[in-house]
């Protein structure tokens, strides 16, 4: 186990750790939801075509959604049950189909398979076979962005490292932490498979100081076993788990602007993705569940390993309901997640668990109001990409796309550090992300001419 000094610039320390303490010692709970609402858009921008009709009976693990665009992956029924309804659900700017499944009383039993207890022999799987299984199992990045894993691993680039992102640098979230503690062996088997799937030399499991116990546990499991897996621990800092920052921290390499990790010989995957891989290859179970942290101002915070499509309101009820009515509810991490409700009551909460939902956090209702920029430069100091966010912000507010381009707005990673530190509470991060997207669109437009 290696321990490193901080190796990427900028970043913040948003909390003191009391937020993670709420849930990190609570064992993962499971339950069978009363209804499943399986969205055909499991990650931002992806869309699947439903393969079943109302009234059909589906088995757990049965393919129910065929990918319709590049960012989508196959979707499987997360429970055995009957399709009650297919309705359109608003998601961002578009509407996507949503399968409502009523689970059967009797679910097929979940066996305890050897891969959760011991090292598996992976010699019989070729790289191509593993990538095909990845695609078949609908495995996608489970850290938050939800990029299809098989596309990532299919690269023809020479891959040196597979970095397993176990940093969980967002405050409040502990689902990866609990998964490592309780499903360590399955994860390690999955990591072993990912190394092979990427054609890499070795995998590095990257975690932070506040998860030292996980690192030690995984290291103990690895023991003397001759597997190409290494565990590294970094000092706590947000956004350690940002892809580019993780690469910088673990290898000291910087990606060329606009480049992919594969160009630098690296693939980054989340720990839960590794677990999903092991489930698919050794357990023949596609990606149909995930672990989500439900925390903040709820009565009994905890982590839940639930079927995809579990309604968020049902999760809240499992936690004993809301502890604060003047609240705001965040889906995802507190830095990059989205606010899905303000002053909501438990029953009114929309949406359900998808492959990328890592957390459901209830916070005090404190909206922010912008005031003039005092040019304190705090945003500039914390920007891990080295940008001057306040300048990009001004450029954007005045519609100066060209200026935003000159300020390298395209390199923004959207981590939110700049908005976090801003004493004037300006939406610096929002505007910089907007500038990034608009500059990219502008460059594409210019490239066409």
């Amino acid at each position: 186990m290696k321990h490193f000094e901080q190796r990427f610039p900028g970043g913040i320390h948003p909390t003191d750790g009391s937020d993670k303490a709420l849930t990190k010692a609570v064992p993962i709970q499971t339950f069978m939801p009363s209804v499943i609402e399986l969205s055909m858009s499991q990650s931002g921008g992806s869309i699947c075509e439903p393969l079943v009709a109302v009234g059909d009976h589906v088995e757990r693990g049965q393919l129910v959604g065929q990918p319709k665009n590049f960012t989508a992956v196959r979707l499987h029924a997360s429970v055995s049950g009957t399709v009650k309804e297919i309705r359109m659900e608003k998601k961002g700017p578009t509407e996507v189909p949503l399968l409502v499944i009523e689970p059967d009383k009797e679910q097929p039993p979940v066996e305890s398979l050897p891969y959760t207890r011991e090292w598996m022999d992976i010699r019989k799987f070729s790289r191509e076979k593993l990538i095909a299984l990845m695609e078949e199992g609908g495995i996608t990045g489970m850290g938050g962005a939800g990029f299809p894993s098989h596309v990532k691993y299919k690269t023809d680039k020479n891959i040196e490292y597979v970095l397993i992102n176990a940093c969980e640098c967002e405050s409040y979230l502990t689902c990866d932490h609990r998964m490592m503690m309780e499903h360590g062996m399955a994860i390690l088997n999955g990591v072993n498979l990912l190394v092979k799937a990427g054609g890499a030399k070795k995998a590095v499991i990257c975690t932070e100081d506040n998860k030292k116990s996980c690192a030690e546990y995984l290291q103990r499991l690895i023991g003397e076993e001759s597997v190409p897996i290494e565990v590294q621990v970094f000092p706590v800092k947000y956004p350690e788990g940002g892809e580019r920052q993780l690469i910088q921290a673990a290898t000291g390499r910087e990606l060329v602007a606009g480049g992919l990790p594969a160009d630098a010989g690296i693939i980054v995957s989340n720990v839960q993705t590794a677990k999903a891989m092991a489930d698919m290859v050794f357990g023949n179970t596609p990606c149909i569940s995930r672990c989500i942290t439900v925390t903040g101002l709820v009565r009994k915070p905890g982590n839940f390993l639930v079927p995809l499509g579990t309604q968020l309101r049902e999760l809240l009820k499992q936690c004993g309901g809301l502890a604060e009515l003047d609240n705001k509810v965040i889906l995802g991490g507190p830095m990059t997640g989205t606010c899905i409700g303000v002053q909501v009551k438990c029953d009114q909460l929309p949406q359900s668990v998808t492959k990328v939902s890592g957390g459901l956090i209830v916070l005090k209702n404190d909206g922010y109001e912008e005031s003039p920029c005092i040019r304190c430069g705090a945003c500039m100091k914390v920007c891990p990409a080295g940008l001057t966010p306040w300048k990009v912000d001004f450029a954007m507010r005045h519609g100066k796309i060209e200026l935003a381009h000159e300020l390298y707005a395209t390199e923004c990673i959207g981590c939110g550090c700049c908005s976090y530190v801003c004493p004037a509470k300006r939406e610096v991060s929002q505007n910089t992300v907007k500038a990034r997207n608009e500059v990219r669109a502008w460059l594409r437009e210019r490239g066409k001419k």
């Binding site: 909390t15 000291g252 990059t336 997640g337 304190c376 976090y420 530190v421």
Partner: protein, 305 residues
Amino acid sequence: MKSYLNPHIRTPKSTKVIMRDVCVSLIPAFIGSVYFFGVGAFYLTLACVATCVAGEYAWQKLNHLPTTFDFSAVVTGILLAFNLSSNTPVWVAVLASLFSIIVVKQCFGGIGSNFANPALMGRLFVMFIYPSKLMNYALPGVDGTSGATVLSAVKHGEEIGYSVWDMFVGRIPGALGETSALLLLLGFVYLAIRKDLNWIVSVVYIGTTTLVCSIAGVDPLVSLLGGGLILGGCYMLTDYTLATSRMNIVIAVVAGLITAVIRIFSPTYPEGVCFAILAVNVLLYYIEQLKKPHIYGVAPAKKAE
């Protein structure tokens, strides 16, 4: 309109909190000024603060701008008063305050958009409309007599007549708030602990000036404690636009050199802090051009393993 965009957690520090911290940090020096220079110091500070706050509010109202109170006008008022001699007439202070807050601050777009430190511009303004106060600072005590400052005495080869301790606690002639190094440093340490300012910049600036002056033969303690170096270095140079620039150390060195050059070579003007800081205010843009920031991935750092 409140916003609910990510990130959903934000630092508790706000503009208002920072400005309030600065006000708090200036309280010891303010009490000291009343102690050393009498109740006139109190009225003068009150006049400056009241004019700045009222002037800003009136301007914002007249121009239909948002009128959120954030203590920044209070800071400008206090710092301006600290730059005046205690026997300055109140009407001069009021005019200077109006000039600072309206012309220098609001006309350029309000907080954060001003091109130079409003309090220092106010001081400059006083030097033009009421130049007799340039050399004649009030002596400590309540009788209102005036005399040459320590720096000016040194410049003209006169006997200083004050002990180092006098200079350190502030029992010397000078502007209201600049004389007491002890009380200013007290507030400065408070701000540094609250992480509201970059203390390295102040140290580099004060160090540069003292060093260069001592090479020219001035007693380092005199240049350190005799004038406005500590007030300027700790509260004016640490103005956000200057102290948080990527080039802040260079800026501090440049300001230090300018101060020293004025102090050593100027035939009439013994101080130099005000001019130096205003000069780097204006030079900021050019100094910033010297070093481009490293953008991730744009000029990749050497591969390290």
